[in-house]
Symmetry: C2
Subunit: 356 residues, 2 copies
C-alpha cells in the first residue's frame, strides 16, 4: 500500500508517479508584484511626452488638460499592452489607468485621471465590458460628477464568441477598443462637444465585432504557470483576452481555417450591409510573431474578398494582447465615411503614430 | 530483463521511460514551405505603398526608383520581422529581399532589387554579417556592376557576444541594422551621394554594439520543434538571432540582472567617450510581451544612468526578432549630432512611422 498524505501528494518512491508539475514560464521581470510599476517606469523613460506615475498607476499626456477639448480616459487590467497606455497621446487618449495584471483599476485612479484631463469640455470614459471595470468606472463617474465634472461613458462589447463569460455579463470588450479610442480621440482633437464624441464612440462600438483564437495559454507573472491548460495539439476557439473559455476546443488547423472560423463568426454579427466595406484589425495576442500574423492577415483578406467584403483600412500587429499568449483575433468595423476620416487623422502615441 | 529493440526504444511497461519527445510548437501558418510567400501576400494586402512579389520574394517601395536618390537594399533570412520588409518605405529602405526562414536570400533577388531601386545615383546594400548573406550580396554586387550599376556595401557586425559564431566569421549583425537602415535611409532621402550614404552607414555600424539574451529557443515552421534546448530554468546569455550559442548558459535571473549583463557587455566595446550620449534599442526577440520589454527598458535606463550615460533617443519593441523566441537584446549607438538629426527625419514604413 502506497503512503500518501491527505493533500493527495504521493510519497517518494511510490509506484504511481505524480502528475507532472505545470511547466513554469520564464518571465523577463523583477519581483512579480512590481511588474506594473516597473513597466510604467520603462514607459516613462521611453516616452517623454507622457506623464507617468508608476505608483499611482496613471499615464497622462504631458499637455493635459487641453483647454476646450473633451478628455478621453480609458483603463483596464495590465497585460494587454500596448492597450491602453500605448494609446495615450495627441489624437487618441488623454489618460490611461492600468490596473494590476488582469485586474480592473480602482475608482480612485479613474477619478484622478478624469481630473487630470478635464479641459472644461467634459471627459469620456472608454470602458471594456468586464464586470469589475464597468462597476469601478461607474463609481468613478459618480465621484467625478459630484466634483462638478461632466462625464460620459461608452462600454465596448465587441467579442462575439460568447455572451456572459468568466468576467462579463454580455459580450466581452476586446479589439474594437482600439478603433473606439482612435476615432473618438480624433473627433475630440477637433474640439467636438462631449455628446458628439460619446456618440461616435458608441457608433464605432456598434459597428465592430471581434473573435479570437488561442494557440497557447498565457502566464501571469504572479502565478508563473499558464492560466489554463491546452493540449499539445489543441486550441481554444473564441478565447477571451484573459484566457476565458470560448466556444470550443479543437485540434490545431492551418491558419486559413482558423481565420475562416473567425471571419464567419464576426460577419454573422456585423451590422448590414453584408458586403459593406470594413476596417480590419488582425491582432496578435502577444506571443505570436509578426511573420505568422501576416500569414493570417493574407488569409483574412482572401476570406473577405471571397465574400465580396472590401477592406478599406487595416492594421496588423500586437495591439490588444494577453501577455504571452500565442494566437490572434480578428476585429472588423463597418466604418462610415466619418469614421474613416477620423481614423486617418494624425495620431502621436507610443504604439500608433502617423502624421498627415 | 527488459525488452528493448536496437533503436533504443523501450517496450511498453519497461522500467526505463523513453526521453520525452520535444514538445511541438503550435504555429499560425498554412504549409510550412509556403510561409514566406503567405506572409508576403499578407504584407502586400496590408501595405498598398509596397510593391510585393511573393514568389520572387521582393518588397519594393511603389515609387521606386526615385530619380536622383541613392537606393537602399537590404535582405536576409525570413524570421526577423519586421526586419527588413517592415522597414521599406520613404526615409528608410527602397527594397528588401527576404530569404527562406533563417536562410540568406539568393544573388538573383538582390540583383533584381538593385535594378528596381536604381534611380541613377547608385545603390547601397546593407548586409548583416552572416557568411551566406555576405557571399551572396558580394556576388549580387558584382553582377549588378557588370550591368553598369554603382553599388556600395556596408556589413553590419554589432553583436559583441562572440566573434566567429555558427554562421559568421567575425561579429554577427543584429539590432544595429535598424539604426543603419534608418539613418542611411534618411540621408539618401536628402539626395546625398552614394559615398556619403555608405559612409554614414559605416559610421553608424562602427558606433553601435548589441547583446542578446534568450529565455527560450525559437521554432522554425519547417522543423516544428525548438531549434535548441534550454532547461526549464536556463537562459542563453549572448544568443544570436537564429538561436546561435552565446557566451554561457545561466539560471534565469531578474530582468535587472540580465539587462546589467547586456549593458556591461555592450559598453565594454562601445567607442569612447564612455559617458557619451547613446541611442538605445530595447528589442524583443518576438515572443516576449511588450509589458516585459518595458520592464527591461526601465532597468536599461537605470543601468545607464548609474554609469552617467545619457540616453538621447530610444525605441522599445519587437524589431529584430527570432521568430517566437522569448528574450531581448540591447543595442546602443554612440550617435553624433548628424546621426540624431537623421534618426529624427520622417519615415513611413510598415514598422517605423513618424512625421515631423
Amino acid at each position: 500500500m502506497d503512503a500518501s498524505d491527505d493533500t493527495g501528494a504521493t510519497a517518494p518512491g511510490a509506484g504511481t508517479p505524480e502528475p507532472p508539475a505545470p511547466r513554469r514560464t520564464k518571465k523577463l521581470v523583477n519581483a512579480p508584484d512590481e511588474v506594473v510599476a516597473d513597466a510604467l517606469r520603462g514607459l516613462a523613460a521611453a516616452h517623454p511626452r507622457l506623464r507617468v506615475d508608476p505608483r499611482a498607476r496613471l499615464v497622462v499626456r504631458t499637455d493635459a488638460p487641453v483647454a476646450g477639448k473633451v478628455g478621453l480616459v480609458s483603463g483596464g487590467g495590465t497585460g494587454h499592452e500596448p492597450l491602453h497606455s500605448g494609446f495615450v497621446g495627441p489624437g487618441m487618449l488623454d489618460a490611461a489607468c492600468p490596473g494590476a495584471v488582469f485586474t480592473s483599476p480602482v475608482p480612485h485612479q479613474m477619478v484622478e485621471a478624469t481630473r487630470a484631463v478635464d479641459g472644461g469640455a467634459g471627459v469620456l470614459h472608454v470602458v471594456k465590458n468586464y464586470t469589475g471595470d464597468v462597476l469601478n468606472f461607474r463609481m468613478a463617474a459618480e465621484l467625478a460628477e459630484e466634483e462638478g465634472l461632466s462625464v460620459r461613458q461608452v462600454v465596448v462589447d465587441d467579442d462575439v464568441a460568447v455572451s456572459d463569460s468568466t468576467f462579463t455579463a454580455g459580450r466581452r470588450g476586446t479589439g474594437a477598443t482600439l478603433f473606439v479610442e482612435k476615432i473618438a480621440g480624433a473627433l475630440a482633437e477637433r474640439r467636438a462637444p462631449l455628446d458628439a464624441v460619446a456618440d461616435v464612440a458608441r457608433r464605432v462600438n456598434d459597428a465592430s465585432r471581434s473573435f479570437g483564437v488561442a494557440l497557447t495559454a498565457c502566464t501571469t507573472p504572479e502565478r508563473g504557470v499558464p492560466t489554463f491548460e491546452l493540449g499539445p495539439d489543441e486550441i481554444e476557439v473564441g478565447v477571451g483576452i484573459h484566457g476565458e473559455p470560448g466556444r470550443e476546443r479543437r485540434a490545431l488547423a492551418p491558419a486559413r481555417e482558423l481565420v475562416e472560423t473567425a471571419v464567419e463568426a464576426v460577419l454573422a454579427e456585423l451590422p448590414d450591409p453584408v458586403d459593406g466595406p470594413v476596417m480590419a484589425l488582425l491582432n496578435g495576442m502577444g506571443g505570436t510573431p509578426l511573420l505568422e500574423l501576416y500569414v493570417a492577415y493574407g488569409d483574412l483578406v482572401e476570406a473577405l474578398e471571397l465574400r465580396g467584403v472590401p477592406v478599406v483600412r487595416s492594421l496588423v500587429g500586437n495591439y490588444v494582447t494577453s501577455l504571452d499568449m500565442a494566437g490572434f483575433s480578428v476585429t472588423l468595423c463597418r466604418a462610415d465615411e466619418e469614421m474613416l476620416r477620423l481614423w486617418d487623422a494624425p495620431v502621436e502615441t507610443a504604439a500608433l503614430r502617423w502624421g498627415r
